[in-house]
Structure formats: structure tokens, C-alpha cells
Amino acid sequence: MSNDNVIEVKNLTMEYSTRKGNVSAVDNVSFSIKRGQALGLVGESGCGKTSIAKSLLKLLPDNAMIQQGQIVLNGKDMVPLSETEMRTHRWSEISMVFQAAMNAFNPVYTVGDQIIEAIETHLPKVTEAEGRAKIETLFRMVGLAPEMMDRYPHEYSGGMRQRAVIAMALSCDPDIIIADEPTTALDVIVQDSILKEITALQENLNMSMVYISHDVAVIAEVSDRVGVMYAGRMVELADTEEIFIRPIHPYTYALMQSFPSVTGPKKELISLPGEPPDLLHPPKGCRFHPRCPNRIEQCDQEQPEWKDYGNNHFCACWNPMEVN
Amino acid sequence: MTSNTSNSGAQTSSVWKARWALFRKSAAANWALFAENPVGLIGLGIIMFFFLLVIMHPILLNTVWDPNIYNPINGFDPQSPVNPSPPSLRHLLGTAPQGQDILSQLMFSARNEFILAVLAAVVTVTIATTLGAVAAYYGGIVDNIIMRVVDLVIMVPALSILIVISGLFELSIVQLAIVIGIISAFSASTVVIKSQALSIKVKPYIEAARVAGGGDFHIIFRHLLPNLMPIALLYMMFAVTGAIFSEAVLAFLGLLEVDMSWGIMLNTTRTLGYMLDFNTKWYLIFPAGLSITLLSSAFYLVGRALDEIVNPRLRQR
């Protein structure tokens, strides 16, 4: 892997310990993101997308533990860092746009105050006036009136709040931004305009991004590269066009088929039978095998290898879809 | 459940059987939840301990204890002419300034506390659930009137009213229980029960009952009230805590004409000026004072444990 990678995740494994046993939420996941690149993580709910996002920021609940692996951010491994050391890297290098933007702001402070707070913490030399000027620029960038910064979160509409969350994520000039289903709670029209804004910002500011969604169409729109998650594991990783043209893993294939395409030719939607496995007792071998149409004997015995299929296309499958 | 009351007897009994089975099942599940919580078990243990004292008292008076000596109200022991006397084998907790056995007083008073507690709790819950359900169901002017009265009562410290009432009228334990019950009904319990009733009122089965032709009365008593019972039970426990506390304070201030209670015991100690002799006369202060504290906190603890069952979001994960 080359050195222009902003973040490199190697063999990341994260578990939650619960009363009933350990839940392996993220199992042996590796990927890397170059400067200015957007990686989309796609998968059904509960497949470990959000767990990865929280692991990257090390924003984990008390019962979660990173068992092994490395998260190398700008050349430095984050995993062994203490909470206090980690704090200096958050937001200034890696920031996040949250899933539930409705409650991402503290209701008793103005939005501007909550953004200034982050700037004060990470850029102590910036004065209050400079901070406010910066927020004004950010607000204009995300399409908000600058005077909104002195308003309280309850005076914002849902879409405005999401824009403000994006402005806040950009406030300390991070190298990489994690967007965790930022548009899920919004109505379709607002969704679309925010999606466009995120893409534009990410390209203009030459930022890297991890975009998490269960919606294949959204992922296709924003990301340069796509990682497909299933039950805590990454099953396929390739450039966006490549993966849409040539899906290798049967799950990726099923996922592509289960979403309609407005512009493309009419096709029958295929829905995948069954449900994702219980991560307390994940199935042996490939975790997808109980639902897989291409299952062979090997599948329930051994974990498939992470293989390179050329053209920067990786997949873990014993019996891949026809590779042409 | 059917709203048709013209069922045959056999059918009705089978409905009740099913209900009983359901009740037993949910009771067992709730008990399992309750038993998980040490706080509630401690409270229940204390309540059972005091209940044991209540049961033991008449038995002791008829067997081991000479009723003349151990009478809680006017007993006197010729063998210990100097009173108050510290604990001894004959008087396990010593004797009161007028010569009664303190343990006997304590046990006898416990009975009064339970009568008071149960009565006040029943009065509170009956009034509060009815008011809450009616206010939520009818809304509008009925709701407005009930809530304004509740506001009025919440705003005034209950104790000051109780002091004036007990100064004006000589209240018995039963009357006092009713007064305390009424005052504590018009308070937080009605407000909370009403908000609970409001959330039940919009449930589909209420709509279904109305479509099936159920009258207001039927819906309130058959559908609304049963679902309010858990939260009412919770407020029952807090009402008991308040009732025991208020009775003790009034008796302690010398405003209550009951024959014997923990508050009266403390009042005697106070009026005779023994309150500051902790080193020598602790047995005049602690048994009664601790009993009041323990029993009222026991009901509070049970209430808190029930709170965690009724409000699942409080449960620890």
C-alpha cells in the first residue's frame, strides 16, 4: 500500500461483550482510503457498518473492545492510544456526520456555540471572531444562512440540522470524514440535495470520506470505491464502476439486484430469502452460506480467503459469481 | 376480551380461567424481575419483619407477657419502679418514662401503622386512578376542573394543612388515614396516572371497544383502569411512605389523639426533655425513630423497585 493513504485499516476486529456472550460486530476487516477518495460501505442493517465507523473514531461503548488490528491515521496507529491521546485526533483529523442528526446537537446551546466549542478545543489560537468568521464560511458552503448560527437546534428543520451537522464536521479541517447514513431520516428531496452537497464538498476540499448506507443507489452516487459488508465481515471491495459491472460475491450480486434502477433496463427485482445471522453465534465458515445460492461444500467449513481478482478488486468467496 | 356481557355462565367462567392463567403468568414474570433487584427485596424484608411484630404482639401478650405489666398503653412493672429504665432481660428495649415496656409499645404501634398505611394507600389509589382515568377519558372541562384542583393541592404543603386539620378535629387513625389519602391523591399521582391513561386511551383496543358498542363506563372500568393498575400500585407505595411519615410528625408534634404510636412515643420523650440524652436515654429515641424511618423507607424501596418494572427504561442494561 502506498503512502498517500489517509487511513489504513488492517485486520480490524471488534467485539461487544454482553451477558449472553461475545458478539463479533467487526471481524477481520481491512481497507484503505487515499486522499480525496470516498469509500462507500454498504450492507443490511446490523452488519457492522456503524460499528466500523465508531471504531475508526474509537467512540465505543464500555462493553466494546477492539480485539486486534490497526487503524493507521496519517501514519499513526490509533488502536493503542489512550482516550486522552485519542481526543486530540478526533475532529481535527477524523470527524463524523451522525446518523441521528435530530439529536446530534445539544438542545440548550446555540448551534454556533457548539461548533465554536470544537474549534476552540482543537485550534486554540483561533480567536472567537475568527471562529465565527469560519462558521459563517462553512454555513454558506453547506447552504445555510450565516445568522442561523445564533439560533438553537429546535429552531432548525430536519434538513437544516443535517446541513449544520455537516458544517460542524468540517469545522476543524479534518483529513477524513465519516458519514453514517446522514440522509436516512430526511425526505427524498432534501436527501438528494444534501447528497449532492456532500459529494461537492468532499471533492472541492479534497477530503477523504467513508460513506455508510444501506442504500446501494446512494452509495453508487457518492463513492469512488465500495466495500460490501455482511455480518461483520467485508465480503467484497472494489472501485464503484467495477463492482457494479462485475460483482463477484453472490451477496453483492443479490444486493445489486434487490434495488430498482430508474434509468437502466427493466429487470425483475430479486429479494434475498432469510435474515442476517445472529452475531452471538455466527455460522461457521463463510457467514453468508446459509442464504447463499452458490453454496458449495467448503462454505460451511472454512472461512473464504480474501483474494485479489485484479483491477484492484478483492473478494472473499469460495464459489464466486462467474468471472469473465 | 369480549365486551359482550350476555355470555353463558360456562363461557364466562372459562374467560375468567384464562384471565387467571394470564394473571398468574405475568405475576410470575414480574416477580422474577422484582426478585432480581436487591433494593426491592430489602424493602419487602423490612415490611415483613414489621408485619411479624404485629402478629406476634397479641400472641406474646396472651402467653409470655403479663398483660398488666406489658400493656403498651398503661402497663407498669412493679419490679422496675424507676422509669425510664435501660434495656434488661425483662424489658428488652427498656421502659418508657411512664413505665410501659418499649418493645411492647413498638409492636403495638406497628399495627396502627399498617392500618393507616393500607387505608391511606387504598383511598389514594382509588381516588387518583378514578380522577386520572376520568380526566384523560373525557378531557375538556372535566379534565380542566380536576387538574386545577390538583394544581391547588400540589401547591400547598400538605403538612401545614394536616396540622391545621388535626388541630381543629380530633382525628382517629381511620379518619386520619382517609384525610391523608385524599390529600395525597390530589397530587403527583393523579398527574402521572392521567398521562398514563392518555397514552392508553389512544391504543387501538380502546377504539375497538368503542366500535363494539362499549359505553364510557364500560371502557373506563374494563379497559382503562385495569391497565392503570401497575402505575397505581407504584404510587400506592409512595402514598404509604407519606402516610406513615405524616402520622408520625403529627403525633410527634402532639396534635394527634391516638392511644399509642411511634410518633406518640417520641412526643413523650420530647415533652419530658429526654431528647438530648443520647448517651443514657437512647432507648427512648432510637427504637421509635428508627421504626418510623425503616418502615417508611421500606415502602419507598419497594416503590422504587416496582418503578423499574413499570418503567422499563429505568432498568439497567
Partner: protein, 395 residues
């Protein structure tokens, strides 16, 4: 905002009148009247008694007597005490009101503040022996029989601690066990007790206002001086006023006498309300810590202290503040008990006293004053909530 306050004041007045009507009817339910005192007197015939009753306005119908009572009340005439005849009720209550008010305000402020701070730290450092111990202490203080706590404190401070101080340091501390002031000391005093006491209260209010102002103004001060300004506002004026009382006021010794008399009642009442406030803040804080904006604050890389104080505790205070509506009444009830236990002459003590002596004009006056106190306290809590929660403030 102002229309809201106006509306609330109007509501409050209606509530007060309703309350007075209710208490009047309650007292009227009692059989007989004042002239029953003359029943055994052979010099006063039944006709004479009727004439006295008519003179006193006791023979009219209920509504007429009630109207008289209410109009008298709102023109400042609260009647005359029967036990301390002919002292006006208004005068008796006016003498005691500042004391009860001070006891109530100090105990509420202290218990709220300490309960809030303790609950905040408890929720932050979850688990372990500390949590068990403090929960037990909290529940004990919340449910303990108020007089028992009062007497335990009396014994601990006025007996045990006094003896220990005398034996160890050779100082006669002599913490008083009852009353508002030492009569022998005040005989030579240049002012009466209430004058000095009111100066002290005024001083306290000024200190509080300075701290509040400093916290408000600290927003407009450069970041690195904020902490300094806040700490200074809490310490410097306090030290200055201490110096003034000791060296320049000339009544330092009298003020000290009032303070040591006030100490135990305030401590008792504070401890009683403290338990509930601490437990509630803890629960509320635990709920708040699960909110999304706490995770946002963590993700922003804010220091733990700022997450705890600025984000979690600031929101956790809202339900505790709302619960003040219920706990105010119980603090006032606790105040009545505390005053009686320490024979501390306030409104609560005179209420119990007058009821025991059937001095109903005084009892009625005291009850009304307590009612007004609670109503005003509620109003202040409501307005305070609007300042704490911007979601309410705007509308």
C-alpha cells in the same frame, strides 16, 4: 416572556384566593365560636353573648364573614391573636417571615447545589463501592424521620463536637441548641435581631447576584480569563463581606450569634432535601449520558470535564429543576418540623404553636403565609425553567 409571567401571577392570585376560601370553610366547620368562652360565665347572659357575637360580626352568613375576612386580609388586617392578645397577627408574622424565608431559601439553594454536584459525579463515575454507599446515604436522608435527624445532629454537634473542641483546642464553642438568638447577649445590642438578620440576608443576596452576573458576563470575556473571572466572583466579594462584618460593621459578634443559631436548622433542612436532589440528579444524568449529543461531544474530542459539565450536567439539571415543584412543598413541610425541633421562632413554629393553643387567627395567618410562600416559590421555579431551557424561552 412578560405576558407569561403576568399570566402566571394572575393564576397565582386566583389560586391564593381559592386556598383562603378553602381554609376559611375548613376552620368554620369547627363547631361553636369565640363566645363559647363565656358559656360558664354567670355575668354574661345568652342575650349578651349574642350581642358580642354580633359586634364581632360572627352572626352573619358564611359568605358575608368570608368576604369580611378576605377584604380585611387584602387591606393588611389579619386580625388579632387570641393568645398574645391584643397583638395583631400581621405583626407576629412579619417578625417571623424573614427568618422562615431565609431558612427555606438557604436550605433549598444549598441542597439543590450540593445535590446537583454530588449526583453529577456519582453518575459520571458509575459503579463500585462509592455508588452503593452514596445511594444508601441518599435513600436514608430522603426517608429519615426529620425530627430524628434533627436530634442526631443536635447531639452530634452541640454535645459531642463541642466537648471534643473544648478538650482538644481549649475553646468554648457552645453551639446553641435552640432559639433564634441569645437573649443575654442581645440586651446590650444597638439593633434588634431582625435588623441585623436582614442586613445579613441582603449581603447574601448581593453575593449571589455578583456570582450570577459574573457567570453571565464571562461569555463576553476572552476564553483564558473566564475561569479566573468565575472563581474571583465566588471568592473576592465573599472575603470582602467577611472582613466588613468582622472589622467594620460593629455588630460582628451579634451576626455570629445569629449564624450559630441558624447553623443546625439549616443543616438539618439541607440534608433532608439533599438526598432526594442527589438521587434525582444521578438518575437524570445517567439518562442524559445516553443522548446522541453526548456522543457528538465525545466525537468532537472535547475534554471529559467539558462533556460532563457543559453537556451532560447542564441538560440533566432540567428534570431536577422541574421536580423542585414537588420538593418545594416537602422542604416547606420539613421547615415546619425543623423549626419546631429547634424551637426556632419562624412561621412553622408559630403554626404548630397556635394550632396547639387554638389560636386560630394566627394559625390561619400562618397557613396563608406558608401558602403564599409556596406559590411564589413555584412561580420563581417556573420562570427559572424558562431561562434554563431555550425551547421554552422562545415561545
Amino acid at each position: 416572556m412578560w405576558s407569561y409571567i403576568g399570566k402566571r401571577v394572575f393564576q397565582m392570585l386566583i389560586t391564593l384566593v381559592l386556598f383562603q376560601i378553602a381554609t376559611y370553610i375548613l376552620i368554620d366547620l369547627q363547631p361553636g365560636d369565640v363566645t363559647d368562652l363565656f358559656v360558664g360565665n354567670p355575668n354574661i347572659t345568652a342575650a349578651e353573648r349574642q350581642r358580642i357575637a354580633a359586634d364581632l360580626g360572627l352572626d352573619g352568613p358564611l359568605y358575608e364573614r368570608m368576604w369580611n375576612y378576605l377584604t380585611n386580609f387584602y387591606t393588611g388586617n389579619l386580625g388579632v391573636s387570641m393568645v398574645q392578645y391584643p397583638r395583631p397577627v400581621g405583626e407576629i408574622l412579619a417578625q417571623r417571615l424573614p427568618r422562615t424565608l431565609a431558612l427555606f431559601v438557604y436550605a433549598t439553594v444549598f441542597s439543590f447545589w450540593f445535590g446537583y454536584v454530588a449526583g453529577k459525579f456519582l453518575a459520571w463515575k458509575r459503579g463500585g463501592r462509592w455508588e452503593y454507599a452514596t445511594t444508601i446515604v441518599g435513600v436514608t436522608l430522603y426517608t429519615i424521620f426529620t425530627p430524628l435527624l434533627g436530634y442526631i445532629l443536635l447531639w452530634g454537634f452541640a454535645t459531642k463536637l463541642d466537648k471534643w473542641v473544648r478538650n482538644t483546642f481549649g475553646i468554648d464553642f457552645d453551639l446553641p441548641v435552640s432559639k433564634f438568638s441569645s437573649t443575654s447577649l442581645w440586651r446590650k445590642a444597638p439593633y434588634d435581631t431582625n435588623t441585623v438578620f436582614n442586613w445579613m440576608n441582603l449581603n447574601f443576596i448581593i453575593l449571589v447576584v455578583i456570582v450570577l452576573l459574573a457567570f453571565f458576563l464571562s461569555r463576553y470575556v476572552p476564553r483564558n480569563r473566564r475561569e479566573f473571572l468565575r472563581v474571583a466572583s465566588m471568592t473576592v466579594p465573599f472575603a470582602l463581606s467577611l472582613v466588613w462584618w468582622i472589622f467594620f460593621s460593629g455588630v460582628g459578634i451579634y451576626a455570629w450569634d445569629l449564624v450559630i443559631h441558624l447553623f443546625l436548622p439549616i443543616l438539618t433542612l439541607t440534608l433532608i432535601s439533599f438526598g432526594g436532589n442527589m438521587l434525582l440528579t444521578r438518575t437524570s444524568m445517567l439518562e442524559t449520558l445516553r443522548e446522541d449529543y453526548i456522543e457528538t461531544a465525545r466525537a468532537k474530542g472535547l475534554p471529559e470535564k467539558i462533556i460532563r459539565n457543559r453537556h451532560a450536567a447542564r441538560n440533566a439539571i432540567l428534570p431536577v429543576w422541574t421536580a423542585l415543584v414537588f420538593s418545594l412543598s416537602s422542604t416547606i413541610s420539613g421547615g415546619i418540623i425543623t423549626e419546631t425541633v429547634f424551637s426556632w421562632p419562624g412561621i412553622g413554629e408559630i403554626l404548630v404553636d397556635s394550632v396547639s393553643n387554638s389560636d386560630f387567627p394566627v394559625a390561619m395567618g400562618a397557613l396563608t403565609v406558608i401558602g403564599v410562600m409556596t406559590l411564589v416559590a413555584h412561580l420563581i421555579v417556573d420562570i427559572g425553567y424558562a431561562f434554563l431551557d431555550p425551547r421554552i424561552r422562545v415561545h
